[in-house]
């Protein structure tokens, strides 16, 4: 039985014009691409548009993609840029909503109803504090923690130097703590 193609192989085929290989690549990353766009544009329609246009641009720009470089941050950078453009143009923003059901980390005992209510309240406070941050602060924290991107990947996606991501994250945390009324 033949093994499935690796990402590098798919990228190489897509660089050569193989649209099916590109589609296979995209399927692996379309959810995080859309979520990245959503966290920046903060509007589902704009995020969908940004991701779709970003994917199209990525397809066209693929011959310029550097061989051996990681594909995901390159793709996310294109989508993030589209999302920023839409956000600037639109100016409207949806608040972040939390899922109704909260899944406990495995191994945790089921909390009491009061405990559950307190945890929900703490999460809502955290979201509210996040919403009060500047766009730059919120975006870097969103990439690093909500999307769980690494420092280097965040730097690539936001077109920042790695040191800038580090310092901006540090400062953003300070301001988030202030919003939460915590001392660092």
């Amino acid at each position: 039985m033949s093994r499935p193609p690796t990402e590098d192989e798919l990228v190489e085929r897509a660089r050569g014009g193989d649209a099916a290989a590109f589609a296979a690549l995209v399927r692996d990353h379309e959810e995080i691409a859309f979520r990245t766009a959503y966290l920046i544009a903060r509007n589902a329609a704009d995020a969908e548009d940004a991701a779709q246009v970003g994917l199209t641009k990525a397809w066209r720009a693929l011959p310029r993609f550097r061989r051996g470089a990681p594909f995901r941050p390159w793709l996310l950078a294109i989508v993030a840029n589209e999302a920023r453009n839409r956000r600037r143009a639109a100016g409207r923003r949806e608040g972040l909503a939390l899922r109704a059901s909260y899944e406990l980390p495995s191994g945790d005992a089921a909390p009491s109803p009061e405990g559950r209510a307190l945890a929900a309240e703490a999460r809502a406070e955290l979201v509210a504090a996040l919403e009060q941050l500047s766009e730059d602060d919120r975006t870097v924290l969103s990439c690093r923690y909500l999307l769980d991107l690494g420092e280097e990947e965040t730097a690539q996606v936001l077109s920042l130097r790695r040191g800038t991501v580090k310092s901006r994250t540090f400062r953003a945390f300070g301001r988030l703590r202030e919003q939460l009324g915590e001392t660092s």
């Binding site: 014009g17 649209a19 590109f22 589609a23 995209v26 399927r27 379309e30 959810e31 859309f34 979520r35 959503y38 589902a44 995020a47 969908e48 991701a51 779709q52 994917l55 199209t56 641009k57 397809w59 066209r60 720009a61 693929l62 011959p63 310029r64 550097r66 390159w74 950078a77 993030a80 840029n81 920023r84 453009n85 972040l96 909503a97 939390l98 899922r99 109704a100 909260y102 899944e103 703490a122 999460r123 955290l126 979201v127 996040l130 924290l141 923690y145 909500l146 999307l147 769980d148 690539q156 936001l158 077109s159 920042l160 130097r161 800038t164 945390f173 988030l176 703590r177 939460l180 915590e182």
Partner: protein, 231 residues
């Protein structure tokens, strides 16, 4: 990891994102670039006088690629004959503050010290000008090459030298000798009709996702030294 970091990370799994749409990725097989340029709309003042005696142009002429050099954000091509486009004087775009340029482009500008003026062309290219705007000593342009193939450069004949170089371990090209065309590509990788101009000595290089372009009366060594000092 601090408690707040853990809480934030955990929050990532609790966000009610809208459902991810099924994106349309049923693209056609990408056409192979043949080196043919679509006819360019006319609409700006012709500066053919500048070209007379330098370039042999004929309307409708098409030229084959002789050499292609790719960087992230730019393609440099040596062609048999330059395409029949209208050449403009340089237009850097709108003069803006550094903050505004960074806001538009979405990244922090690199520089060689405080510039005399900063320009932004839409949200794609920022240009730092050193010296008088009318006759700059140095021009440093930058764009996100991961996002946009911004520049196409075309050089004809042996009068223009195109040398691959390294700047801080990343790829670059030093272009010197005869002037060459600089064109901007739009999002369809077509040449934007309204921006084509002649350039002299230029160093183009990648830095992470960025493409930087330094133009001035520079030797190769001076250009490389300056490029390595860009922060």
């Amino acid at each position: 990891m601090s408690d707040l970091e853990r809480r934030l990370q955990s929050l990532g799994g609790e966000i009610a994102y809208p459902p991810t749409p099924r994106f349309d990725v049923s693209f056609d097989r990408r056409p192979v670039r043949t080196g043919r340029l679509r006819p360019l709309a006319l609409g700006v003042a012709i500066l053919l006088a500048v070209l007379a005696g330098v370039l042999a142009l004929s309307p409708g002429a098409r030229s084959a690629f002789l050499e292609i050099f790719d960087l992230r954000g730019a393609t440099v091509e040596r062609v048999e004959q330059l395409p029949p486009v209208e050449v403009q004087t340089v237009d850097f775009g709108e003069r803006v503050s550094r903050d505004e340029a960074e806001r538009r482009l979405g990244f922090e500008l690199l520089d060689l010290g405080e510039p005399d003026a900063i320009f932004a062309r839409g949200d794609r290219v920022a240009t730092l000008v050193y010296g008088p705007v009318e006759k700059p000593r140095l021009v440093l342009s930058q764009l996100n090459g991961a996002v946009w193939d911004g520049f196409a450069k075309k050089a004809a004949g042996g009068g223009t030298r195109i040398e691959p170089v390294e700047v801080n371990g990343e790829r670059g090209l030093f272009i010197s000798g005869d002037e060459h065309y600089v064109m901007y590509l739009d999002e369809n990788l077509d040449i934007a009709d309204d921006v084509t101009y002649l350039a002299g000595t230029v160093l183009l290089w990648n830095r992470g996702p960025l493409l930087l372009r330094l133009e001035g009366e520079l030797t190769r060594d001076d250009a490389l030294e300056l490029a390595e000092s860009v922060e």
